[in-house]
Structure formats: C-alpha cells, structure tokens
Amino acid sequence: MTSNDQASGVATYAAAVRAALSDLPSDQANILLEDLEDHLREIAAEAEGPLAERLGPPEQYAKELRAAYGAGQVNTRRQDPVLRDLQLARAWVTGSEWYRQVRAFLPELRPAWWVLRGYLAALILAAAFSRGYGLGPIPNPTTKRGLAEILAMGVAIWLSVRIGRRSSTLPQVGRFLAVSANVLIAFVSIAVLGNMHSFTYSELIGTATPEQAPFTSAFAAGPIANIYPYSQDGKPLTNVLLYDQDGRPITVQQSEAQTSYPTGADGKAITNAYPLTQRHMNGDLVVAPRVAFPPWPTPSPSPSASASPTASPSPSPTR
C-alpha cells in the first residue's frame, strides 16, 4: 500500500467512526476522538491490509469505543439513512487531507483575488457605459477609449489591493460591505464577460486596416453572404459602400458562390461595395432575390444614390 492509499484509508475509516458517533454532544465527541486519526495511522502503518479487516467495520469500532468511554446510551432508534449518509459524506469531506490542504492554501490566493476584483469592477463600469460599443476583455490600446479603460483598470486594481490589505482593520460593517461587494462583482462580471465580443487578432495587434470580422447578423435568419441595397423608391443600387458604427468596412461571410471583388486603384480588393458580384459553381451569375419593400408612409421620390456605373453587370430585381 502506498502511503497515500494508507492515509486515505485511515481518513475514510476515521470519518465513518466519527459519523457513527455524531449523535454525541460535540465536546464529548471531540475529547473522545481527538487522537483517533493518529491512532489509526499507527495501526495502518504497522501491517498490510485494510483497516476494516483488522479492526472490524467502523460502526462496530465506534460501538466499542462508545462503550469503553462510557459515553451514554447507544441511540437505538434507527437513524434516518439519508441523514446518516449526509453526515458520513460531510465527515469524510471535512476530514479529508485534500480538503484540509485546500483550506490551508486558500488564504494565499487572496491577493490574486484583489487584483482580479479590481479588473472586473473596472470592466463592469466600462460595460455600463458602453451601449453599442464593442467591449472586449482586453482594452484596445490604440484607441483613446481603450487607454481610458486601461487607466481605469489600473486605478481599480490599486484601490482593490489597498482595501484588501486593510481589510483586517475594517469595522464589522466595512467587512460585511466588502464581502457583499465581492459576491456582487463575481456575479455581475460573469454576465458581462458572457456577453462580450471576443477580439479578432488583427484588432488586438492594431493593424493598419482593421477589417471587421464577417458578422453573423443578429437580425437575419441565417448567415449573410451578400447585401442588396435599394433606394427608397425601389431602385436597385450598385457599388454601395457600407461601414459599421466604428467606421470599419463591413464584410460578409463567404458563401458557396464565388465572389469577385472589384480592384481599387491602389491594387487592393474592395470588399465592402454591395451588392457583391457572385457566380455559382457552374459559372452562372448569382441573381438578386425577390424582395418585399415595406410601405413607406409618404411616398416621396428621393434621388437614388446610385454610384457611377461600373464594368460589372448589376442584376435587376423582380417585384
């Protein structure tokens, strides 16, 4: 038996004995059971074999212990098995080496929590102030907004660590507030983090032309492969350039069709001029779909915003 097996065997047996004696008043039980683990460890170390084999079942051991200690009548009423199992489980967990080690280690994690808590608090504040802004877990240092976020996080972390270090000198009220704040931050930050866009790599390293990741739109039934713009009076538009709220060109997902982008004067493909020119695998042009125009309240002929005619043919709609 490895010493780890031994140790856990002792712990299990001891926990069972404790559970069987759990009906004793706790001060009596403590005195009686104080050396139990050490004692069992000696027995286990002396020879091979599981403890139950050499000492009998733990319930029997507990009965004998109780009798020898003279600790009051054995409770003959049958203990509710569910309750007994719960007590057994609890005794097993709290007596276990693992549990004791974890509990001993937790205080070392406190400073890390202070830092995390400061970061999360700043994040929550940023989320509260960023309607429509793409908030990410790491602020973008190339934007003014991102720099402000970084500064706020620094301040928040500093504050949080200060409070954490002084927490032992806080009055009762202060400590209660701190604990409530911890819980609140933990819960709210889960919600905030869950709703975040994740950064694309290019945004993170601040490339010169940050392309927006092809968006899977929330307001379409499925992924968007092309966009067909029309003017208010129903004329199809061509080469409409689209940008998002941050000024980035809007691109769409690749579809099964082949998309050919017009090439700009600088040699780069223009990817946000709609509708895109697309061909099916067999070479046929992708035709514009049937669309249903919404009824405008006062039909006013607005000048159609068609761009200059291009070489590529534009598909005509059907009403």
């Binding site: 005195i31 050396d35 050490d38 027995i43 000492l55 051991y61 004998e64 200690y69």
Partner: protein, 117 residues
C-alpha cells in the same frame, strides 16, 4: 469480533482500566503501544477500540498526563503517562483486584484448564 474477543471484552469491562493503568505504570506509552503491550502480556483478544476508549476516559478523568513526542521520520506521537492520581487509582484497584481474583480462583477451583471437578 470473534467469540473469544466478545468474551474477553465482556469480562474485561471492569478490569481494563486496571490493565491499562498497570501498563502505563511500567512505562509511558502511546495508544497503539498500549494495545500491543496488553496483547503481549496475555490479553490477546483485547479490542483496540476498547483500549483507545479507556485511554481517553482515563485521561478525561484526570488519571493520565499526555505529551507529544516529535519524530523525524514518522508522525508525532502522543504519549500517555500516569500522574499522581493515576498512581493512586492503580494501587487501589490493584488491591481490589487481588482480593477479587483470589475469591474467583477459589470458586473456580481449577476449572480454567478444562478439568472437570
């Protein structure tokens, strides 16, 4: 527990205190060592739980001292030893035992070896 152990436990109920005190009078001991010494001295079937429970009770009653001996290779061990009260209790019980056992032996009159009378 087998039958011999059950019998031993029954008969020993009164005298285990005396036996444990006697063992500790010779030398201080830790829990399992007491069990071992009892068994070596003829009480083969004494229950481990009974000895441990008795030790704790005697300690609680104030008849024993205890101290921890640190050890390099093994766990620290808690040793028990008799204090003054314990020694007095031992002497008194020993006297009682002497007269009791004399009476019992007389009554049993050689039955213990399976001889019929």
């Amino acid at each position: 527990m087998n039958q011999a152990e059950v019998d031993t436990t029954q008969l020993l109920k009164g005298v285990l205190d005396l036996a444990v005190l006697a063992v500790l009078a010779d030398a201080d001991s830790y829990g399992y060592d007491v069990v071992r010494r009892l068994r070596e001295n003829g009480l083969e079937h004494v229950g481990d739980a009974s000895v441990y429970g008795t030790l704790r009770r005697l300690y609680q009653a104030g008849a024993l001292n205890s101290y921890v001996v640190p050890s390099d290779e093994g766990p620290h061990r808690k040793y028990y030893g008799l204090n003054t009260r314990g020694r007095e209790a031992l002497d008194q019980s020993a006297q009682t035992w002497a007269s009791l056992s004399k009476a019992l032996n007389h009554l049993l009159n050689g039955r213990s070896n399976g001889h019929d009378k």
